[in-house]
């Protein structure tokens, strides 16, 4: 649920704000709903990876990839796949860390104390 929400809201925010807005939604959602540091990281990372990859690939496909080819040449011939990978990783890493920060910041300010049943669930 958090994952889907992250993708949808993040896409909307990034359409209107500059590129660094990629951090906003993962941070906010993990601060609100995040359950663990690692979980928050992967939510941010994977949602943004999927979003950036699909968007970039879509733009590439619908234009015949002329510009991708020229850009690849500028980036020492890393190729379309290389550019897509570089793009995906850049966005995903930043979003992942932002998301993790969201969770830990919330924990530092307003720690969520786990109930016994949650602890048991974690244990099992």
């Amino acid at each position: 649920m958090q994952f889907i929400l992250m993708i949808l809201l993040s896409a909307m925010v990034q359409y209107f704000l500059p590129w660094w807005s990629v951090m906003i939604i993962p941070f906010a959602i993990s601060a609100w709903k995040g359950e663990s540091g690692g979980g928050a990281f992967w939510n941010g990372f994977l949602s943004t990876a999927l979003l950036w990859f699909c968007m970039a690939y879509y733009e590439h496909l619908r234009s015949g990839g002329i510009l991708t080819a020229r850009m690849s040449e500028t980036f020492q011939n890393i190729g379309t796949i290389g550019l897509l990978t570089l793009t995906t990783w850049s966005g995903a890493l930043l979003a992942g860390f932002a998301s993790m920060s969201g969770y830990y910041c919330r924990q530092a300010i307003l720690p969520k104390v786990k109930t016994d049943s949650e602890k048991a669930k974690d244990y099992w």
Partner: protein
């Protein structure tokens, strides 16, 4: 808590890394984001019908795009026409327009940093911005042109207003800066920039003065004459001048004030030798159609995007088609229903340097006409990316800006620049009127408003008139005024008036049935006024005139063939004499192969020609063997005699003392020795550079340049390499590496409207992600032309029209 700090720190570090540009790599975050980075530039290809609402239009405007992405703009009035031209041009060429203006105004350092400072200083000190401001003030007195230029500017700004950063052209994203609002002043600045390109302030005045001091006037008269030996002038020899000539100022005595050695600054951009163009028109009696055919191919720097942008501009009153300069309204080279025109450069002497004597280091007063005169100052702030600004205060005398300031510790005089770009003019009025001309008289009226850069305007109409005017505002000079530095302290050295426009060299319907120009001398020696001591070598002109002379029942394809002609008349006239001196007994294998090849050469500069490679390198080397006395012993610039002078010595004065080499006082070399020496040296250097003689290694196509670079050459991926086409500087197809035919046009006039063809080595879109970015390059290199879609009305049904953009009032 600790985890929170660590995690935020990690995020911040990554944000910094992705947000910082490590030149030349742009800041990766913004650049790679599929929402705002380069990926989204791929989608800026609009092929479908669409509609936009803009605040500035008065009625509906329809822009029909053809299969070459040429906009055909149909508006109900002039205001909407030029508003829409601004809008669609910006949509395709925004970055180019912006960059050209930043470069022209001396503001490149702002975006690329300190490395551009010398160029910026040059632009400031030659007064580009002031020239544009003065011209715009002048143009505003003309209500019509003022409104045309404002509408064009508003159209560009309407496009900018709705542009999101994600939609900025990709170059902005790579270099990390933002587009800027347009003004009519910027359009005027573009005209000044064209004057920089075509009538550069660096005209060799200081270099010539150094020569004068070294060799004396007699040698200069002999080797630097004011008229070339091999010439085929634009106005046919023997044409009579039907006017009463104005009184020409008297030449003052002596240049004795100028004994101090002077140099043009080494960081001024080099003047490009032989930058030029061809154009011609044949009359109905020479054409298959019975009406004139006009052809034009301006040679300029070849870049992507191209300097030209095709457009059709139609209102109920006018309908012109041709190429425009992105950043200026109207069609610059083109045609309408009744007439066609094209231009080539006139290299008249319209920039002179004056030696200035300041009273003291404050530069507040300078000596002129036996008085101390006040200078004015203009502070130029040059912003530099990542560094504090540089303030350069430029002093202005009545001559013009002090383009080359010197300071007290330096004994040399400061040099002020008198330059045609500072003469306020209204060039857009000329083009506005040409776009609407219906006959010869309209054309001449249009030309009378033109100041500079002077052009040879060739003309043809469907009333079977052809004509050519050597057109521009020319200073009235004494013979050789401005060949050397001028004394800035005496009024008799000033420009003292102008040649009346109606006395500019021109000819209408000459008996030979054609008019033509290729940057050669405008006239024979009978023209009463001094224009310059040198013009481009006449080789292209001689070939074109020979071919046109021979033509009968010519078609547009005959014109196309001549534009692509690669026959070198210089080789024909010179090479047999050179080869007579080669003694093939002395030659090694490479030299012998080269010699045999040259013996059988047809003088064509085709891609496969080995002979073209050898001849070209040979005549490049020859001057250094003959003019060894001119080798500069210091940093002073030296101007070698024109090549034509060398051919004159070889063909007619083999006994000349200049053939003797200075380095070997004990031997007296003759012409034959020099020819042999230079031949062997040429072949040996070709051998070192390209390997053993073979039809592949030494093929002209492999040796000459074949790159069309992006406006910012380091962006290699946005340029084209391997553009293979024959040609050379001295043949009609003047393609040589970075320079060449930037637009080829052929227009067959007709009573029912013209049939026209054209092509340029580029594409209409400035977006490197568009298929229309470089789609014409291949056809251009094969020498093909595309039939131009000239729509007679908005409703005309034409299969080549793919989509329509409708602009309506917001």
């Amino acid at each position: 808590m600790k985890k929170a700090v660590l995690s935020v720190a990690l995020t911040a570090g990554l944000l910094w890394a992705l947000g910082t540009s490590f030149r030349p790599i742009p800041a990766l975050g913004a650049f790679l984001s599929p929402f705002s980075g380069f990926w989204s530039n791929e989608r800026r290809i609009q092929l479908l019908d669409s509609e936009v609402h803009l605040p500035g239009v008065q009625g509906d405007v329809f822009v029909r795009y053809d299969d070459n992405r040429v906009p055909h703009i149909f508006a109900t009035n002039d205001h909407d026409l030029y508003y829409a031209q601004g809008y669609v041009t910006a949509r395709d060429r925004l970055f180019q327009m912006d960059l050209t203006i930043r470069s022209a105004s001396g503001r490149l350092s702002e975006i690329v940093g300190e490395q551009a400072l010398p160029l910026d200083l040059y632009k400031r000190r030659t007064g580009s911005m002031k020239a544009a401001e003065d011209s715009w003030r002048f143009v505003q007195q003309d209500e019509k042109i003022r409104s045309v230029m404002e509408a064009y500017s508003d159209g560009i700004n309407a496009y900018l207003k709705n542009l999101r950063p994600a939609d900025y052209p990709v170059e902005y994203k790579m270099l990390g800066f933002e587009p800027e609002a347009w003004t009519p002043e910027k359009s005027m600045l573009l005209m000044v920039e064209m004057t920089h390109t075509l009538a550069s302030p660096k005209d060799g005045d200081a270099a010539m003065t150094n020569l004068l001091q070294k060799f004396g006037i007699e040698v200069l008269k002999d080797l630097y004459p004011d008229y070339a030996d091999r010439e085929s002038p634009i106005i046919p020899k023997g044409t009579r001048w039907n006017f009463r000539r104005k009184a020409i100022p008297r030449q003052p005595k002596g240049y004795d004030e100028l004994t101090a050695a002077v140099a043009e600054p080494t960081d001024w951009p080099q003047r490009v030798e032989g930058i030029g163009s061809n154009n011609w028109a044949i009359s109905g009696k020479k054409s298959a159609t019975g009406l004139p055919i006009l052809a034009g191919d301006p040679h300029l720097g070849l870049t992507l995007p191209s300097i030209w942008y095709q457009v059709q501009l139609a209102t109920p009153e006018s309908n012109a088609y041709g190429v425009s300069l992105p950043g200026a309204p109207c069609v610059i080279i083109g045609f309408n229903h009744d007439v066609a025109w094209s231009v080539t450069n006139v290299a008249a002497d319209v920039s002179d340097l004056y030696a200035i004597r300041f009273k003291d280091a404050s530069r507040q007063e300078y000596w002129y006409n036996e008085l101390w005169n006040k200078t004015t100052f203009r502070a130029e702030e040059i912003k530099i990316k990542g560094k504090p600004s540089v303030i350069d205060t430029v002093a202005y005398t009545h001559h013009g800006p002090v383009a080359l300031p010197r300071y007290p510790e330096d004994k040399k005089p400061s040099l002020a620049l008198k330059w045609i770009a500072h003469e306020p003019g209204n060039p857009i009025k000329t083009f506005y009127m040409l776009n609407r001309s219906r006959n010869y008289d309209d054309y001449v009226r249009s030309l009378s408003h033109y100041v500079g850069p002077a052009q040879n305007f060739v003309f043809a109409s469907n009333q079977d008139d052809i004509a050519i005017w050597v057109n521009g505002k020319f200073p009235l000079k004494w013979d050789e005024q401005g060949k050397y530095l001028l004394d800035g302290t005496k009024p008799e050295y000033d420009w003292q008036g102008w040649i009346p426009h109606e006395q500019n060299p021109h000819v209408k319907n000459p008996s030979r049935g054609f008019v033509s120009s290729a940057n050669q001398s405008p006239t024979d020696q009978s023209y009463p006024y001094y224009l310059h001591w040198r013009f481009a070598p006449a080789n292209r002109a001689i070939r074109i005139n020979e071919r046109l002379e021979a033509m009968e029942r010519a078609t547009p394809d005959s014109m196309r063939a001549l534009q692509n002609d690669t026959y070198n008349v210089l080789a024909r006239d010179l090479l047999p004499t050179l080869l007579e001196d080669i003694d093939f007994g002395d030659l090694n294998a490479n030299q012998y192969s080269a010699y045999t090849a040259l013996k059988q050469w047809d003088y064509e500069y085709t891609l496969a020609s080995v002979e073209a490679t050898i001849f070209e390198k040979w005549i490049d080397n020859l001057p250094f063997f003959v003019w060894d006395e001119f080798k500069s012993d210091s940093k002073k610039p030296i101007q070698l005699p024109q090549d034509d002078q060398l051919w004159h010595l070889i063909l007619k004065k083999p006994e000349s003392k200049w053939f003797d080499l200075k380095a070997t006082p004990e031997v007296k070399e003759t012409k034959s020795d020099i020819v042999r020496l230079s031949f062997r040296a040429t072949i040996d250097s070709l051998h070192r550079q390209y390997g053993t003689y073979s039809s592949k290694n030494w093929a002209w196509g492999n040796v000459k340049g074949s790159t069309i670079a992006h406006l910012i050459p380091p962006l290699k991926a946005f340029g084209r390499t391997g553009v293979k086409a024959g040609g050379g500087a001295d043949v009609p197809n003047a393609y040589r590496g970075k320079w060449g035919p930037s637009w080829r046009m052929v227009v067959a006039l007709g009573k029912e409207g013209p049939t026209a063809y054209g092509i340029y080595p580029g594409g209409q879109s400035g977006n490197p992600g568009s298929p229309y970015y470089d789609n014409m390059v291949n056809a251009w290199s094969r020498g093909e032309l595309k039939e131009l879609v000239y729509l007679k009305s908005l409703e005309e049904n034409n299969g080549k029209v793919l989509s329509t953009l409708k602009i309506t009032k917001e």
